[in-house]
Symmetry: C2
Subunit: 218 residues, 2 copies
């Protein structure tokens, strides 16, 4: 019993490493139970137990008849996203505000010249062609994503990613309404100028004021 348990716990650690190191990327299909059992010289029930513990953490998803797929690189991110999904949306917006304001303050004191140029580019792009925003993206070239990059704060970025899952869902379902693109650009311009002049307090205040206006509950 204790030997079987430690074998499956060991195998679970190996599975987790394949995911966290990126050997198995997000959304990829992992090898079959039989393949893993053969490779590690363990029984299929050991593989099943190890796999199930990662399914419980939300890192893997097993689809009947289709196989097992990688869904999250970290047990915390997936659990946090599902936890945040159960909270009132107002409270998730409060957390977003906390993270954005801190990220802007850190960006003001840490941004490199390159990161500053990326932020300026994002604002200029939006000035030239303000698009009606359907979703808050985290891709480079999007202002908020670039602020988090300039903040150089991996933990805040991690939490922000989980928050974005909820915000995007609420924008898609119409529970949240984004502010007008032109007003958003003006706000971003203010945050940018505080980050540019290296004033954390001003950047924090500008980001907090913007987030309050950025999306509204219907």
């Amino acid at each position: 019993m204790s030997v079987a348990r430690s074998k499956s716990a060991e195998l679970a650690l190996w599975l987790e490493r394949q995911i966290t190191t990126g050997v198995w990327p997000i959304n990829s299909q992992i090898p079959t139970e039989g393949e893993i059992a053969t490779e590690h010289r363990v029984g299929r029930s050991t593989v099943r137990e190890a796999t199930r513990s990662l399914v419980n953490l939300g890192m893997l998803e097993s689809l009947v008849g289709r196989g097992t797929f990688v869904r999250s690189k970290s047990p915390v991110n997936s659990l946090l996203a599902s936890y945040l999904g159960q909270q009132p949306l107002e409270q998730v917006l409060e957390l977003r505000s906390a993270l954005e304001a801190e990220a802007a303050a850190l960006a003001a004191s840490r941004r490199t010249e390159e990161q500053l140029a990326a932020l300026q580019h994002a604002v200029e792009l939006a000035q030239v062609s303000p698009q009606p925003r359907r979703r808050t993206s985290q891709s480079p070239g999007e202002f908020h994503a670039d602020v988090f990059a300039a903040a150089q704060a991996p933990l805040l970025s991690d939490l922000y990613r989980s928050v974005l899952v909820i915000i995007r869902g609420a924008l898609d379902s119409g529970r949240l309404q984004p502010m007008a693109a032109e007003a958003s650009v003006a706000d971003h311009q203010q945050i940018l100028s505080a980050i540019k002049s290296g004033d954390p307090a001003e950047a924090r205040a500008a980001a907090a004021a913007h987030v309050d206006r950025d999306v509204t509950l219907r």
Copy 2:
């Protein structure tokens, strides 16, 4: 197989409810495998599987020869605390700053007269007898705890609780040094007066400035 799996999943949900509803409080010992098996008319292996999934989430801890104990009311809090424990301390402090600043801002716009009185009492107590602070407590009467109470933001408070676990550990081990009690009281006075005058921006700025000074890495 699929019947056995759904039985253990059902039982895991029942175990979780016993914990989240407080029937089994934190640190209490849960009934034995045999007792639970008899009560639910399932095999002991089903109980073992269900228990293990909660152990994996950090909600239960099994101690060999002593029994199984409740360790966390939420899978997120325990996982988050262990995740935060693996992050560089600087980054945990950044998250703390984000949460404290937002809580102060919310407190400024939401505090009731009673909560304001509690905050004033906490500051006055510290003015009369400034104690060398060994730990940041979350008990009523402690300024930071009272700010979070006045913010009326359960999600931020939840995350703050997980952050405090790390901060306390770092204060105890000497990796973090608290600021002098007198300076801390002066900072709290500033945050209080912003909360009193209902100025979220000022409260946010005062809290952020205080957190930057409050504890320092050795």
